[in-house]
Amino acid sequence: MVQASAVEIRNLDKFYGPFQALKQIDLTIPPGKVTCLIGPSGSGKSTLLRCINFLEEYDAGEVRIDDQLIGYDGPGRKMSARKLRQMRRSIGMVFQQFNLWPHMTALENVAEGLIRVRGLGKADAATRAAEALRKVGLEDKMQNHPARLSGGQQQRVAIARAIAMEPRLMLFDEPTSALDPELVGEVLQVMKTLAGEGMTMAVVTHEMGFAAHVADQVAFMEAGELVAVDSPDAILHNPSDPRISDFLRTYHERNAF
């Protein structure tokens, strides 16, 4: 069993030109736990996730993974590409827009990282990739290219691609937005297993039920600020901040039937 990673975010600022997308974010993501990020559209959830694996360069503050600063060697000194790559090998990510490689089949999409990054042989990689695809219920579409897959199937390939790499930290950006309820249940099961195997997870989601079921802690963001971090129970049932209660009210209204 691998060692799950811990993430420490301190005073993080991120600007897009004059627009401040993240404001002084302070957040600890404990190892082996699931942290869910919730909040309104445009509040900075994807941006925060992208700062954690340094796909987005942050402007101030720190992101540490297992005590190691990511992206910088010291103040103002960029980390070498090699070292950054090394760190990213233990971080997986599922993108909100999937970002599948259109020239490869579903199977090849998943196997690619295993071959290039993990150094597996082709046959081994294909076996492992097929297994990952089976976990997300795609055994009969392995040979399809992304253009020949439905929205939910594409999303599942993206998930399989990430879990096949067995990272120690996994970043999910709305991993279930295109999935139907049954599949969400299955994916949730897969994620719970992963968490049990010692993987740290940060999950952006709009589905409160999902957060309630899998999260160890929930962080609520609004307009670039981290409003609250607490247990799912505290956030979802006894929110301390009126912004959160407002947010949840509409959710309950529309999901009851």
Partner: protein
């Protein structure tokens, strides 16, 4: 190196450069338009037309400009087509460039994600509007460097116009070198003028490129 030759030949060289620039500009603009028409006809036209255009593309693209020009200018009169040097040169350059431009446009169009065209179709936009507003601007993103590339290549094809006595730069430079034996100076002039022209074109291309790709850095 003797700069005195430029005193005698300078004006002539400049005039030649003027002719070169004129031919290049006219040939590129007309060739690009013709090429665009061909590419669009290939995309939307009926099957027999597409097939015919494919033959046009392969034949014009596959044969040397020198030969085309030679046939047009020296062979034309045999079938009663008698053109003066400059019109023949411009016609030749336009026709020669068109299949290359057509292929570049085609590859640009292919790079436009189908979803963006479907979105336009779904609201009932007419195909000409789709071409103008969606296909062309987005297709240009990937096609622009290749368009600039080929325009640059066309600058150099203009020197071939000298074989049909269009008094462009090469014609004048050759004249200077055969009359004065100043080969080094002659080549220098040629290189400098062309470098200047090409630099101008590529700079303009880069500027245009940054303009049109400014907003496209996609994110997750």
């Amino acid at each position: 190196m003797e700069l005195s030759v430029f005193q005698d030949y300078g004006p002539m060289l400049l005039r030649g450069f003027g002719v070169t620039i004129f031919c290049w500009l006219a040939g590129t603009v007309l060739g690009m338009l013709l090429g665009l028409l061909v590419a669009l006809a290939q995309r939307y036209g009926p099957r027999p037309l597409r097939w015919l255009l494919q033959v046009y593309i392969e034949v014009i693209r596959g044969t040397p400009f020198l030969v085309q020009l030679f046939v047009l200018y020296y062979g034309g009169p045999l079938i009663g087509l008698r053109l003066d040097a400059l019109p023949a040169g411009l016609l030749g350059l336009t026709v020669y460039g068109s299949p290359y431009f057509a292929e570049i446009f085609r590859s640009g169009f292919n790079a436009v994600p189908i979803g963006q065209i479907e979105a336009a179709r779904a609201i009932g936009m007419a195909e000409p509007s789709i071409v103008r507003r969606i296909l062309l601007p987005l297709g240009l993103v990937s096609a622009l460097p290749a368009l600039v590339n080929f325009s640059i290549i066309l600058t150099k094809e203009t020197v071939i116009l000298s074989i049909i006595t269009v008094p462009e730069l090469m014609y004048q430079v050759q004249r200077m070198s055969t009359e004065t034996f100043r080969y080094l100076e002659a080549n220098l002039v040629l290189a400098l003028f062309f470098w200047g022209l090409v630099e101008t074109i590529s700079r303009a291309g880069r500027r245009l490129e940054t303009r049109i790709t400014r907003h496209l850095i996609e994110r997750v």
